[in-house]
């Protein structure tokens, strides 16, 4: 389909860009530590990492969006300083960011959007005419082998389909003939067929000698496309692996923490009474219904990556969303909260994922941050009882060892970990029957994590139910009595913590057990047994339909799976 003008290949395996000891810190918070990587011509490097692993920080430094990095970036062996995105582009590094819409200026034509950089450069073409813009735009599209008619080029770019907009942004990134192209989750808004088209383009670009960094959560795409995988975790490069990829190890590098930090959480408690249930609930429009029982007296850890359905479960129970299908019960009775207030009144509390956006009230005191959801309880005839508020705040500060000068300290003056303790403490302070914590340990240091974990254990011991949702295996093992692994809106594993080991859980992450029941047709003859659940890469590489396939589009591996339209876990 696409005939690309092959720019002279200056020999593959030439290192185009190298990072030497690159670190980035925001204040005292080090988010990227001593990264050393080489990117070679004609190579697609996949960059993997959980949320907050430092992927976007690395991309920002490389694309000139954050010039405050330490260490050295070399382009063809020459040390450069990348002060701005424009400078980075001039030096040969182009980036396409995740949100395509952010790269498109609505109101300007497709052609003007393609040549946007010219508009920013005052010196060139002070007077632009339509025909010149069209010619430039056509030239830009030609690098992708695209030939859009003038009618399309003249229309408002906001009217382009998302996949075409993606191509537009890509064509614009290639206009400066970069040596390194960075793509941040380019397929997140594309359909499988559109993604496939993009992959063809990327393979052709690779053949022409371009070095590409490909960021994605979708293992299927990486299996289909990448030459090597770099895993970041906690700001450190954990591993670099070449084909054939050993997915188990990669996932472990991505999710596991150094074993030195493992700690024994003691006895595993088993709850008895059902606190809440999900009955035949669909987490996504196209996923199969899920049944889940949440029991009092235990901490349930739900493990899953982005898009696995964790946040959906939290939102259903917390009254932020209504189920697409199926129903909920709470303490044996039907439970259909229509708004967060209903959930709170039913003693179901949700500690939301994003502390800054959904949790804290900036500028407010710790005390007022703590009592906000329970104002009705802490007031009589509308009048806020100050003594009641103060004792509430004092007890939160005590039980979670919040480091603050007192309940009247501004929340802004607390460290991130202590802010999180305040937010968690807020929600647990009124003695909930069911507490749901969505990624409660993000950006929280170990000490704070332990304290929150202990608080949850105490809550469960008092007969309440606690649910922790996380994408981190170690966090889940640390806090949970019972572990549920969620993949693509489906429960892959549901066991008590003392019944499973880490590798079984990670195996469930990879969709093994599910592959056995549903994906058997696709993975020719491979029938993994429970005894040997962990050999994802052992299957012949051609069996493709790579692990998890969370949202993997059609596999486009050299030898495609029998039914490429069908993600392996459906």
């Amino acid at each position: 389909m696409t005939s690309l003008p092959t720019t002279p290949v200056e020999g593959h395996d030439v290192t185009v860009v190298s990072l030497v000891g690159v670190s980035v810190a925001y204040g005292s918070n080090v988010v990227l530590t001593d990264v050393g990587l080489d990117f070679r011509a004609g190579e697609i490097t996949a960059l993997l990492g959980a949320n907050g692993a430092g992927k976007s920080t690395l991309i920002k430094a490389l694309s000139g969006a954050n010039s405050r990095y330490s260490g050295e970036i070399r382009i063809r062996g020459e040390a450069v300083h990348l002060g701005s995105p424009v400078q980075a582009r001039q030096l040969g590094i182009s980036a396409v960011h995740q949100k395509v819409a952010d790269g498109i200026v609505p109101g300007l034509s497709v052609a003007e959007n393609l040549t946007l950089d010219d508009l920013a450069q005052a010196s060139r073409h002070p007077l632009r005419n339509r025909r010149a813009a069209l010619a430039d735009a056509r030239a830009a599209l030609a690098t992708l082998g695209l030939d859009w008619p003038d009618a399309v080029l003249s229309q408002d770019a906001a009217r382009l389909a998302i996949s075409d907009a993606q191509l537009l942004v890509l064509a614009r990134a290639l206009r400066t003939t970069p040596q390194l192209l960075i793509l941040d989750e380019p397929t997140s808004a594309l359909t499988a067929a559109e993604a496939e088209r993009l992959f063809d383009v990327l393979r052709a670009l690779r053949a022409s000698g371009l070095s590409i960094i490909y960021v994605s959560h979708r293992f299927g795409e990486i299996e289909a496309l990448a030459d090597r995988v770099v895993v970041l975790r906690d700001g450190v490069v954990q591993s670099t692996s070449e084909r054939p990829f050993e997915w188990h190890g990669i996932l472990h590098d991505m999710l596991g923490r150094a074993t030195a930090l493992d700690h024994d959480r003691g006895e595993t408690h088993r709850g008895t009474a059902e606190a809440a249930t999900l009955d035949g609930v669909r987490l996504f429009p196209e996923s199969a219904p899920v049944d889940l029982a949440i029991r009092s007296g235990e901490v349930l850890g739900i493990l899953g990556l982005i898009g696995a359905g964790k946040t959906e479960i939290a939102e259903l129970l917390g009254g932020l969303a209504t189920p697409l299908a199926g129903s909920l019960t709470l303490q044996g009775r039907a439970y259909a909260p229509r708004r967060p207030g209903d959930a709170i009144a039913a003693k179901v509390v949700l500690v939301p994922e994003d502390r800054q956006r959904q949790g804290i009230l900036p500028g407010w005191s710790v005390l007022r941050n703590i009592t906000l959801p329970f104002l009705r309880e802490s007031s009589v005839a509308g009048l806020v009882r100050r003594r009641f508020e103060r004792s509430r705040a004092d007890s939160v500060i005590d039980t979670l060892s919040v480091v603050a000068s007192g309940p009247d300290a501004s929340i802004d003056d607390l460290s991130g970990g202590n802010q999180q303790k305040v937010v968690v403490g807020r929600w647990l302070s009124a003695g909930p029957a069911l507490a749901i914590l969505d990624e409660p340990f993000r950006g929280v240091d170990i000490a704070a994590r332990r304290e929150i974990g202990q608080r949850l254990a105490a809550l469960a011991a008092d007969g309440a139910a606690a649910v922790v949702l996380s994408s981190d295996v170690d966090e889940i093992f640390e806090v949970a009595d019972r572990i549920v692994v969620l993949v693509g809106g489906q429960i892959e594993l549901d066991r008590y913590a003392d019944e499973v080991d880490r590798s079984t859980v990670i195996g469930a992450f990879l969709g093994q057990s599910h592959g056995a029941s549903a994906g058997a047709t696709a993975s020719a003859g491979a029938t993994p047994s429970a005894a040997a659940p962990l050999a994802p890469a052992a299957a012949p590489a051609s069996a493709a339909a790579p692990p998890s396939a969370l949202t993997a589009p059609a596999s486009s591996h050299p030898t495609p799976a029998p039914d490429p339209e069908r993600p392996s876990n459906v």
Binding site: I360, P362, L372, L375, S415
Partner: protein, 350 residues
């Protein structure tokens, strides 16, 4: 086993001095201004003058308290001046043309104020138009509607109607009492001003509804997740603002004694200025009732003093502008604390 977290260190002397200036600077300026006028203008220090000043500023202060209420939920209301002007004409129309008593006029005007507030709330909460634009539009609509209702004319007692007859009604005595009456030595407008201030202070600082209003203005998403009906509180704040604007209009109508079509025109800027000054007065850094009242008093002192000094009326606007500028510098530039006012954004989360 406390975590290695950073708690803010003790403020330095300089920081404490700055905090002191931020907190008391405005009070000091007001007091200094009063002292200056007391010394230079003997007539300034009479009790009559003090109540006269407060009476003069009461409509502005009450409209400013309305704007302050809209600010608590992170919004702003630019239609207060138009609402007050609408109230003036509607009060006059009800009494003079429709020949009703003052009590009826007051009721009609207050209902109109609530309706205007409800319109603003509808545009902002349901139609999702940004507050600045929504209330600007309402301002035009209300001014236009007022002119249509009164045929573009000021309504006064015994005026000749378009059919040649004389208007049946007049501004009744009970209505005029709103301006001319007094309880003991205190004029009625001053009492209303004080009562509104105290009620709002109580609502915002002592009740859970006040806490919820501020929560909506500070971080509406966190407020929603805390079970607060964010849209209800937004609606209530704008309706309250409309109500207060119409109260301001009633006082203006009683003062003027006729349905002046241009009444209320200058009220908007003063009301917004007073509410903004209120944010920085006392270094509170968020909308508050006493600060707004104090801001109004400061402007009253300034205007009265300027008049006594024989400065031209147009010097007043310059003076007000400077006061507002200083207030904004205190709020946004010198204050260490983050200011929570986000005028012009309904989805405020600073």
């Amino acid at each position: 086993m406390s975590s290695p977290s950073v708690v803010s260190t003790k403020p330095s002397t300089g920081e404490r001095a700055a905090a002191f200036v931020v907190k008391w600077g405005f009070v000091a300026v007001t007091v200094a201004l009063i002292l200056f006028f007391v010394i230079t203008e003997p007539s300034f220090r009479t009790v009559d003058n003090i109540f006269g000043m407060l009476k003069f500023i009461a409509p502005t202060a009450i409209a400013g308290l309305g704007v302050m209420l809209a600010m608590t939920v992170g919004g702003i209301d630019l239609s207060v001046g138009a609402s007050a002007g609408f109230a003036v004409s509607i009060a006059a129309w009800t009494m003079v043309i429709a020949n009703q008593v003052g009590g009826v006029a007051v009721s009609v005007v207050l209902v109109c104020g609530l309706l205007i507030g409800a319109l603003n709330a509808f545009l902002i909460v349901v139609a999702r138009i940004p507050d600045l634009l929504a209330t600007l539009t309402t301002m035009f609509v209300i001014v236009g509607l007022k002119l249509i209702i009164v045929d573009g004319k000021s309504i006064s007692s015994q005026m000749t109607l378009s059919n040649g007859t004389t208007a049946p009604g007049k501004f009744t005595a009970d209505f005029l009492w709103l301006d001319r009456g007094s309880v003991g030595p205190i004029p009625v407008p001053v009492i209303i001003f004080l009562v509104v201030t105290v009620l709002l202070w109580f609502l915002l600082e002592r009740t859970r509804w006040g806490r919820a209003l501020f929560a909506v203005g500070t971080n509406s998403e966190a407020a929603r997740l805390s079970g607060i009906r964010v849209q209800w509180y937004r609606t209530a704040a704008y309706m309250g603002c409309g109500l207060l604007a119409s109260v301001a209009g009633l006082l203006l109508a009683a003062r003027i004694g006729q349905g002046d079509v241009s009444a209320g025109n200058s009220l908007l800027l003063d009301a917004v200025a007073v509410a903004l000054v209120g944010v920085s007065v006392l270094g509170i850094g968020r909308p508050n009732a006493w600060g707004t009242a104090l801001g109004a008093v400061l402007i009253a002192v300034m205007v009265t003093g300027f008049t006594m000094l024989g400065l031209p009326y147009y010097a007043q606007d310059f003076g007000k502008g400077i006061v507002l500028l200083v207030a904004l510098l205190f709020s946004f530039t010198f204050s260490r604390r983050r200011t929570v006012v986000t005028a012009g954004s309904t989805t405020s989360s600073s």
